[in-house]
Amino acid sequence: MARESIITFPGGWVTADTFEQVLLQAFKTPLPYCSGVTFCFHQRSKVMVDAAVRLLSLANQLAARELRVTFLFNGDQNEAMSYLNRANFFTFLSPKVQVMPVRPDPSYAKRYQGNNKNMVEFKSICPVDYEASASTPIQLKDALEAATSARSDREQLCHMAYLLFGELIDNVYCHSQTMLDGFAALQVYRNGGRAQVVVSDSGVGLLETLKPKLLSPSDKCLVEAELVYALFRGNVSWDAKGRGSGLKRCADLALRHSSSLSVRLATCSIDLTPSKNGYESINMQYLEDLPLLEGTHICFSFPLDSSI
């Protein structure tokens, strides 16, 4: 018998970890037997951008599968709704998703777009229209420049962000093989002294497109977590003309700024914490058997200069 799944986000910070935990709790009923999914937000939920991008992709995927999807924001002046609206989230949320009490007016977000020094609003990546996203990496870089105007390491930081966005968005075009839009966003958390860069797509997943191109039989036998780890370490041989090394470049760039890295794939997630030796397996956290979230969702989280 079909059932409704209810996912409840608590008050306080909703990180990607929180997102996965509540998802696991909610999807005790396997997805094919769900008739609908309701995402409930506590009045004081503060959704971080790495969780928000996974949420956006999941909601759109569920709606595309014709499940009934509802967002329920509790209380007056719900903080999650306020943030997500400001981040342009609802512009890209499928119109099939019901938002309660009422879907915010997207013109509010558009009116203030680009004016928040701590945020680069969600930008969509249309897999079948490259030109629509051609300016996205430089827009994201320019916005980060505005958000870090007083920082001593601003130039290096913004250059890194440009390269990360370019590489990750390029991967969406290379690997996603879907009609669903992907997303890119950036958020500066001044009080927490961190910034997060996220790129997400709802395609077949990075590993599914890269696995056939692996040269070494031993690489082909790696489990997903080990393969992602090997990709970011550059310990994989390719048959492509220099392609496939982009993730290693991202990792090298991120390491210069002591960035941690998380990758969510269809049913697993990998978190890497940097050390002086780079990303090491000893500092890798791996979760498997997660509820299905198609695509590839990458987040780089790097500390900001505490002098600012």
């Binding site: 490259y130 051609a134 300016s135 990496p137 430089i138 870089k141 250059h159 440009y162 390269l163 370019g166 590489e167 968005i169 390029d170 075009y173 290379c174 003309k241 220099g242 392609r243 090394s245 982009g246 470049r249």
Partner: protein, 179 residues
């Protein structure tokens, strides 16, 4: 042949393999329309940012395609971030580039010449044209040794080789810097 890369880019920044490929196609068509030109000078004047994929798929791939037939060099490349990314692109495709600066100064991006070839390369880059006999004399080498080094530099993409009629009849090679 001089090409200003920015003139073939829709924006001053270039990223990704798709845009790289488009620029490749455009430059390829342009170069094929001038078959007698064997030295292509690519100016990065006006290019503000690139990632690694864009140069790899465009200029580097083009240079690799034409290796031994045409030579590509770069100018107006001084931004450290750009240099780093173009270096990565050139290294990944194992395609060297001479980057010319002011006053005939230069640097080599991509794979560096082996120790045994460095002196010969320095010599060729210092003269407009190098004949085997002249190179051998300048570097105190036997002619066959000089010939091997020059040929190796040509095959690896550091210099160009042209045929010309020898004064004694037959064919001899002249080696030219890519500039």
């Amino acid at each position: 042949m001089h090409i200003r890369l920015r003139d073939h880019m829709p924006r001053p920044d270039g990223w990704g393999h798709i845009q790289g490929r488009r620029v490749y196609e455009e430059l390829y068509t342009l170069i094929e329309s001038c078959p007698h030109e064997d030295i292509i000078v690519i100016s990065l004047d006006g290019v503000e940012h690139t990632d690694v994929s864009f140069p790899r798929e465009s200029v580097v791939e083009l240079a690799k395609h034409y290796r031994e037939q045409k030579g590509f060099c770069l100018t107006h490349l001084s931004d450290p971030d750009l240099i780093e990314n173009w270096e990565a692109a050139a290294s990944k495709r194992e395609q060297p580039f001479i980057v010319w600066g002011e006053d005939k100064s230069y640097r080599i991006l991509g794979p560096q010449p082996s120790p045994g070839l460095r002196e010969m390369l320095t010599y060729v880059l210092s003269v407009p044209v190098a004949l085997t006999s002249e190179a051998a004399s300048a570097l105190n080498l036997k002619v066959p040794n000089a010939s091997n080094k020059l040929k190796q530099l040509w095959l690896e993409g550091y210099i160009l080789r042209r045929e010309r009629a020898a004064s004694s009849g037959g064919v001899e090679y002249e080696y030219v810097r890519i500039a």
